[in-house]
Amino acid sequence: MTTPLLVTKRMTEYPTDSHTIDRYEATGGYAEARRSFSLTRDEIVEEVKASGLLGRGGAAFSAGLKWSFLAPARPSYLVINADESEPGTFKDRQLLERDPHQMLEGLIITAVANEVHHAFIYVRGEYAKPARRVQQAVEEAYAKGYLGQGIFDSEYDLEVIVHLGGGAYICGEETALINSLEGLRGEPRLKPPYFPAAKGLYMMPTIVNNVETVSNLSHILSMGADGYTGLTDSTDTGTFMMSLSGHVNKPGNYELPHGITWRDLIYDIGGGIRDGKELKTWIPGGASAPWFIPEEHIDLEITKDATASAGSMLGSGAVIVMDEDTCMVRAAERIVRFFSHESCGQCTPCREGTTWMEMILRRIENGEGRAVDLDLLVDVSDGISIDLAWPPKMTTICPLGPSAVSPIIALRDYFRDEVQEHVMRGGCWFPGAVKPGEAGRPMASVSGESQAGIPEGDRIEGSP
């Protein structure tokens, strides 16, 4: 736990004004953006490649390598993907709200490294406050001459536009995001041929990077790739953000060194399971990721490779912890419902399959399940994600549909008995279950939760 904080350092030390440009510059901000003009493009790209920085949007692909794929045609574009909408993920929100200049400095470095003169920040539509903070930061940077024409007294022009999303999870998928930016329906494009690095925004080469990814860049340039990789002994370099939520005593965003185990995260950092309950399962990397169970995974190292070889992913860094009182059918239904609701509707398997899965799960939960339903669920899932393999063998254009299959993998592999007991008992026995004859479908108790304990400025607008 001795690794120093990088991306959350400023907001931790200066909780009241870490988002202002004055505080940012007073703590050394924009020095690396300024210095990047003395480096060649290749030097920046090579430094980032050497740092081992992985994309933090979910795919965990080498950021430097992604840059090096950019096609030579110009103009090229940069889009910062701030459409953070994966259930359980809230790290980018904090980075945007508390340290927007750190993200902007990363944006500038990325732009310079990739010859981009026009960048967009695509902020999730519901993120009103983060969007305001980012807009304010952009305006401050323009006023200082860090954005606009001839930035940092160089010959370099860089225009930045903050764009608010239209309210669809799928717009976090980079090609759907590009469509949305162009004013089209938020639907993923075909890959091939529309790889953003070749034919992205307005059919020109485009880099799409996550907020946390670019927030790391000033630190990498400042400490050098060696310094960054030297932070841990783990196979993954640097630090990473985790949004810990669910039935732990201390939920929240944590910046962590790679190399700790799930036991460290849940029991030490998260303070253990609330009310002394037993840990039943957790989702290691956002709603898309296959679930882990304590019997098999609690002592695994939290790295990309260890998670992948155990059949899941770190994704967008969202850990959702569920205790022994959690109904697995209801939890699965809630997650499948999310994906079915957010399906763009293009591909037959995702559009029809996720809805069908949701209906079957709801039937089981409500006591109308049949003995064949679990196998049917698995078979329907198979039509979206062949063999329910990991990583998925998709029958769809994008991974949204296959993501909905992750909870079914858990039901099949770990909770088969619990599902069948729902069938045999004619319904659910966990707390909060819908009684036979009662109307309505099971709902997770999130929407009505009080925000009384949350500081006034940080409350989600429009909620109680």
């Binding site: 293009q346 069908w356 029958t395």
Partner: protein, 801 residues
């Protein structure tokens, strides 16, 4: 094909069999061309792939093992190994079909598509056989009308995006779109914007399920009860290929046939649904003779006897010069040939014309030696359209030009007095005041409008020229062609004309200055306008009208009114009563389209065969048969036995048509034969800058042009189409409205030196300031003539406040 020499072939393996296929081709196409059908719903060979239905999943070998991909979105590459039928692929296909059928209603017994439904067929061939979906199916209100012609049933829709892509990529009026998302996704129109496309019927044809149905066909037949025959539509001058579907001698629908040379399978709604007139109760089915002022049914023998006697009498008294023939542009070449022979050999008159005083010169139309083919549009560097709004008058050409500009990236120059359907794809667009065409051509020839000059100076230019506005007169197109010849590296000209078989009629000699085969007549006769004048002055005493309505079609109908009213003797051959044959002494009932076979020649000179599928009503007969009998009654028999033998006679006596027999078209050249231009006479030299009418200095000028839906006699008897015309409308620019004191919706009186009429005012940004646009030939049609000087006065302000 064009660059077929340069295509690289690559070796791919499909289901263990090796094939050489063109590099870069979509896998689904390459497989199909080599005998492996991969099932699909969303993929259509004429549209960009979207990979949405996922039905075409196949497995390819990759270094990382087998991988499932969609065959419609991936191109072939050398060494590709594909499996389209292994257990994994079969399982995926079954899954997709089970998903598609999960929410599909069990409407098949009452669905128009049942029996010819890709979803039914592929469910049988590739589906799992039974559904495990026990939940409640998704429902929508059904069906909902989305236009005057098309109904939408969202429950049946499989969301393949064929209709949305067609309207976006092909027809250019994206009025139908996806709404909502996920399993709530639906196809729909925008609020208050119906799917009022001229091409909406194509979406019904390409819909892979019964989600889009056409009102004229709905519930009228089961596909297996239909008799089918191929033919070509005779509304559009391009003669798009169609299949006629009939049941019990009644035509129920046309479908588009995909031929590369012409229409790619697409049809305008006028061509697709314009068949209902054939079964109209108003058809003339028996010969009619005027007895005591009333048209009375008589026998063929009596009618032909009287007609022959009267025509012979005039010929005997004043010679053939006292007789004239107009029409023939709406029938087959065989009809036109018979009419031509009747005129020149039996009536012995030089006064014969298929044009209605609204066309380019017959020499320019028939004998432009560097005539463009429709397929030349795909190879051009620049396409010039200076003529009618193609979307209104030449729908097939409109689609081909749009494709060339939109999908193939060709430079497109559009010059027209107001907005046209191609403006959104035009690289350069010029507008001019009606009557100002010659001045604009002179400016371009002098090097003004550098953008346009630059575009027209490229190597390969295809120019589509015709009459853009009556105010410009008929010779502007020749000047434009000459101007383009001077600028471009090489140029091909496509002269445009508005009646379907005008080119065939001219080839058969239905022009005062042309013999069959485009041979010059030494002493030309009178054209239609001069014939009408001759009738008025008494120099011409007798007239034969064959399938024409000069009173409606001539730009200045006053010429026709006087001629027809004073004519001594008028014989008409037609399907319906019309304004012109109201003046006839005898009307002989003719067989219509699909009631006779024959050949027709389209705008590019392509001859195709049209076929018969139903009998003509009553005792109506093909024109050629009527004319043959008439000749026999005048003791100068033509000896015509059948359309087929006439075609043989044409092939022998008209060198250009050598070898173009019915047999050849039926069996060897189903896409038609382009008549060669060799042997036709050289084209007149035309100065680049011609003296023509000049734009008047008046405050307002009149623009008149045709619209797709008019008040022509055939459309008037098409139940579903006859209400679609814009009606009596006068379009003016909103900026002119205050000065004229006109509000939208007001009734206005439009007056020219040649006539006047009352119209509803439409405020329209597409009509430039200073121009009044009045569509030609609408209900309550007007007689405004060709004079572009116009006055507008409000009769009843009405309209919007």
């Amino acid at each position: 094909m064009t660059s077929s020499d340069n295509i690289n072939l690559v070796l791919i393996t499909i289901n263990g069999v090796e094939h050489q296929v063109p590099e870069g081709e979509l896998l689904i196409k390459a497989a199909q061309d080599n005998g492996t059908y991969i099932p699909r719903f969303c993929w259509h060979p004429r549209m960009n792939p979207v990979g949405m239905c996922r039905m075409c999943l196949v497995e390819i070998e990759t270094p990382r093992g087998p991988m499932m991909i969609t065959a419609c979105t991936n191109t072939v590459n050398d060494g590709m190994t594909v499996d389209t039928e292994n257990p994994a692929v079969k399982k995926a296909q079954e899954a997709i079909l089970e998903f598609l059928l999960a929410n599909h209603p069990l409407d098949c017994p009452v669905c128009d598509k049942g029996g010819e439904c890709p979803l039914q067929d592929q469910a049988m061939a590739y589906g799992p056989g039974e559904s495990r979906f026990v939940e409640i199916k998704r429902t929508f209100e059904k069906p909902i009308p989305i236009s005057d012609l098309v109904l939408l049933d969202r429950e049946r829709c499989v969301l393949c995006a064929r209709c949305t892509r067609f309207s976006d990529e092909i027809s250019g009026d994206p009025l139908i779109e996806f709404k909502e998302r996920g399993n709530k996704t639906e196809i729909n129109t925008f609020p208050d914007l119906p799917f009022s496309s001229y091409f909406s019927g194509n979406t019904v044809q390409i819909c892979p399920v019964g989600a889009l149905t056409a009102k004229p066909y709905r519930f009228r037949a089961r596909p297996w009860d239909l008799r089918k025959i191929e033919s070509s539509s005779m509304f559009d001058t391009a003669h798009p290929r169609i299949e006629i579907h009939a049941s019990q001698n009644e035509i129920l629908r046309y479908t588009g046939v995909d031929i590369d040379a012409i229409n790619h399978g697409w049809l305008s709604d006028k061509d697709r649904f314009g068949f209902e007139y054939l079964r109209s109760e108003q058809r003339i089915s028996q010969p009619l003779m005027r007895l005591n002022g009333e048209l009375t049914e008589v026998s063929w023998a009596e009618a032909l006897d009287v007609v022959a006697t009267r025509l012979q009498l005039i010929k005997d008294e004043d010679g053939g010069e006292a007789l004239a023939v107009v029409g023939g542009a709406n029938g087959t070449n065989e009809d036109a040939y018979a009419l031509s022979r009747l005129a020149r050999e039996v009536l012995e008159t030089p006064h014969v014309d298929a044009r209605m005083d609204d066309a380019l010169s017959s020499h320019f139309l028939a004998a432009t030696v560097d005539r463009a083919l429709i397929s030349d549009l795909d190879e051009a560097d620049t396409i010039l359209v200076w003529g009618p709004d193609l979307k209104e008058e030449h729908p097939t050409l409109y689609l081909r030009v749009r494709r060339a500009a939109q999908e193939l990236g060709k430079t497109l120059v559009v010059i027209h007095p107001r907005a046209t359907g191609l403006d959104d794809r035009a690289t350069h667009k010029l507008t001019y005041r009606p009557g100002g065409g010659f001045a604009l051509a002179a400016e371009i020839a002098n090097g003004d409008h550098t953008d346009v000059v630059g575009a027209l100076s490229l190597d390969r230019v295809v120019a589509l020229v015709g009459i853009a506005s009556y105010g410009d007169g008929p010779r502007l197109a020749e000047s434009v062609a000459a101007m383009t010849r001077d600028l471009a590296g090489s140029v091909k000209i496509l002269p445009l004309n508005s009646r379907s078989n005008t080119f065939g009629a001219l080839d058969m000699g239905l022009a005062p200055d042309l013999h069959p085969g485009r041979l010059a007549v030494e002493k030309p006769g009178r054209d239609t306008a001069e014939i009408m004048q001759g009738l008025g002055s008494g120099e011409i005493r007798g007239l034969v009208i064959a399938g024409a309505d000069p009173l409606r079609d001539m730009p200045d109908p006053r010429k026709a009114v006087e001629g027809l009213e004073t004519a001594e003797y008028v014989v008409a051959v037609d399907l319906f009563h019309n304004d012109s044959n109201a003046h006839a002494d005898v009307i002989l009932p003719a067989a219509g389209f699909a009631e006779k076979e024959g050949t027709i020649t389209n705008v590019e000179g392509r001859v195709q065969k049209v076929n018969q599928i139903r009998p003509a009503p009553g005792s109506a007969r093909p024109d050629w048969s009527i004319l043959d009998d008439l000749a026999a009654h005048m003791d100068l028999p033509l000896g015509l036995a059948s359309a087929e033998t006439i075609a043989k006679e044409i092939a022998e006596s008209v060198p250009l048509y050598g070898g173009v027999t019915h047999d050849h078209l039926e069996w060897e050249a189903r896409d038609g034969v382009v008549v060669p231009m060799e042997g036709s006479q050289p084209f007149d030299y035309v100065p680049v800058v011609l003296d023509g009418p000049q734009a008047p200095g008046a405050q307002l000028t009149l623009h008149r042009a045709r619209t797709m839906y008019d008040d022509g006699v055939r459309l008037r008897h098409c139940h579903h189409l006859h209400r679609l015309g814009p009606g009596p409308m006068a379009h003016i620019n909103p900026s002119d409205a205050p000065g004229l004191g006109v509000k939208a919706g007001a009734r206005v009186r439009v007056t020219t030196s040649q006539g006047e009429g009352e119209f509803v005012a439409v405020l329209d940004e597409g009509t430039p300031p200073g121009v009044v646009y009045v569509p030609v030939n609408q209900i309550d049609g007007s007689t405004l003539g060709t004079d572009p000087v116009v006055r507008v006065r409000t009769v009843d302000p009405g309209g919007e406040p």
